[in-house]
Subunit: 196 residues, 2 copies
């Protein structure tokens, strides 16, 4: 829980007495690679803060093809915010790409932390706005960017994931074919581009 | 200002005394068709609540092609929330597709209304979460849906726009070619599908 502690104390600026109260209200869980945390039709009851490991959220279309909405590694939060907030069935799967240690954050926790601490409230507000910013950029990339620009953006957003995630999943996230991704990677290698 | 009044009083549940205070703090403006309200590189200082008319936000790629991020007609708010919240340069254009009457909502207004009224604060929180929900659905559609499903979704989201917006703009919003949109519309007509 080292990362989650740092998240609450440093990023959300929660002081020690409030921290002691709040830390009792979260749950820690070890998730095995391949384990499914959320299925379409279920209401998303938690946000998953990732201590160690790697989760993804994705949809499956009528033809059975997976489309990756989000990756989350250390210090990321993976969730279906809409399902959790509006208490409505999710469209998403969430599962583990690696063995993963998560902190389960409930809506109750967020409400309580927001009541106790104005700095948490501010931090949560910034996190929401950041989510909107990130989604807006993603929409723009999906509408307008070449496969190369999408991949370059992926590397910038997720610098630690290019070697941890199978290529087909990266292609799925980018909305391009695995063949396009392979071509882009070859061209970048040819230009001596170093992602890591 | 009939729509904006309804928005504050009914939707955000602002009582008369607070309403009288707040209504003084917004600005009304008539925008001519084609007028540009925001350009890339500028910080977005306002959200535009649409009383009457039609705005759009869009990006222009390196080849000069426009990609429409959002349409907004009566009772919608068009903005670059990220630019406004983080006080950073926008990537977007916002302009008027029709002569439009807007209410200019500043960050100061939102902060003040949130302080005065807990129901406004709640409403604003729901609006943020709605925005996230809408963007998430859009990302999923762009990643996984056929041209027909994208168009059907457009009609559902913007039922009054199919006749007000040029076809090429709808295709741009959907991330499909005008030819694909034309084909989809013909197929739907053939199936006797009535959008309006």
């Amino acid at each position: 829980m080292q990362n989650f502690t740092k998240y609450l104390k440093t990023k959300a600026n929660i002081a020690e007495p409030e921290f002691q109260l709040l830390i009792k209200k979260v749950e820690f869980r070890n998730i095995e690679k391949g384990e499914v945390l959320l299925r379409p039709g279920e209401v998303c009851r938690h946000s998953f803060f990732i201590e160690n490991g790697l989760l993804r959220s994705y949809t499956v279309d009528d033809a059975g093809k997976e489309h990756i909405i989000q990756f989350g590694s250390e210090n990321w939060i993976v969730s279906d915010r809409s399902s959790a907030f509006f208490n409505e069935p999710s469209d998403l799967f969430i599962d583990a790409i690696e063995d993963t240690e998560v902190v389960l954050i409930s809506s109750d926790f967020i409400n309580e932390a927001s009541e106790i601490s104005s700095s948490f409230r501010n931090y949560n507000q910034i996190a929401l706005q950041n989510h909107i910013r990130h989604q807006q950029k993603r929409i723009n990339l999906l509408l307008s960017a070449s496969a190369e620009r999408r991949y370059m953006n992926f590397i910038k957003l997720y610098p630690d994931l290019t070697l941890r995630v199978p290529q087909w999943m990266i292609a799925s996230y980018l909305g391009i074919t695995p063949e396009s991704l392979s071509r882009v990677r070859k061209e970048l290698a040819h230009k001596n581009f170093k992602p890591n």
